[in-house]
Symmetry: C2
Subunit: 150 residues, 2 copies
DNA sequence: TGATATAGGACCTATTCGGTCCTATATAAT
DNA sequence: ATTATATAGGACCGAATAGGTCCTATATCA
């Protein structure tokens, strides 16, 4: 849980590159070169990001990819879901026996609330934050709290 | 990302059962019966929870398991890590090529800060909250913010 | 000593993840 | 028109992980 997949890691590097020069139309080959992500994988990621409305594409010769919106308008949640698919904390109903338990649904409600809080953070944080050289905590509007968690 | 594994789901149901009657010494058989979790899997989970210091065990005939601490002293992060292993948002160093990129480490720092925020939530929320019939948001000391995230 | 528990493994299967490749389609330049 | 260059949308495969089972050893109580 709460682990960034390798592909999402790659995607964030690619997107960071694009966000730094938002007006360029990037080809898959260019991005692969700049990001060190192997071309076939890079292509796959770009397609997923288009499908997830993070990027727009231009087909044909001299075509390529560019950001669909300003970096500040792209939540990291959108990026993660574009690569890894929709994220629910857990799909209820998969296990009939558990669902019949008196309190299972109650416990799941708490888990879901926890998931909502995580969702909130991932929605508030954007690609702009990701490419910023400054720590997230410096921005008061997205600071959760100062923390000493290991 | 941010998905509860099936085994952690099971574990939370088992722990909820135990937390409701903290002074009982539960055998694996009893817990399997109460929780509808198949016995072999239940046993495996209980062992993991002992190793993770969530439970204590008493060996031998009439032995069993009980909570190692009060429910309010057991963060859900501890439970998750007992079942799924330590959770880092991502292990740096796995990919040499990426690590050499100028800005990859900067982007990863942001991801890591995001992970810290999630960690904070999971550390503040405890087993007691999980078994509570009341929403997490009712508790001002752990409220992040009211949210309208889908 | 026997019955009942947990301890700590090994082990297998199913699913997911990471990665590659192939064919079709769209566009621009010649 | 034709060719070169690009993305679109799949299928596909191997590796890693998750889920689940089982076996043997050890500890405790009656």
């Amino acid at each position: 849980m709460v682990r960034l997949s390798k592909l999402t890691d790659y995607a964030s590097v690619i997107l960071a590159q694009m966000a730094r020069q938002p007006d360029v139309l990037w080809s898959a080959g260019q991005l692969s070169g700049e990001s060190s992500v192997p071309k076939p994988t890079c292509i796959k990621l770009l397609k997923l990001l288009v499908k997830g409305d993070v990027l727009t594409s231009t087909q044909g010769a001299r075509g390529g990819y560019s950001l669909a919106k300003a970096p500040s308008q792209i939540p990291v949640k959108t990026i993660i879901e574009a690569i890894e698919g929709p994220m629910a904390i857990t799909e209820c109903g998969t296990d009939e026996a558990l669902c019949r338990l008196t309190d299972h649904c109650s416990v799941m409600s708490r888990w879901r609330e926890l998931g909502d809080q995580v969702n909130y953070i991932l929605t508030k944080t954007t690609l702009e934050d990701l490419i910023s050289p400054h720590t997230l905590y410096a921005r008061s509007d997205r600071r959760i709290e100062t923390l000493e968690v290991n």
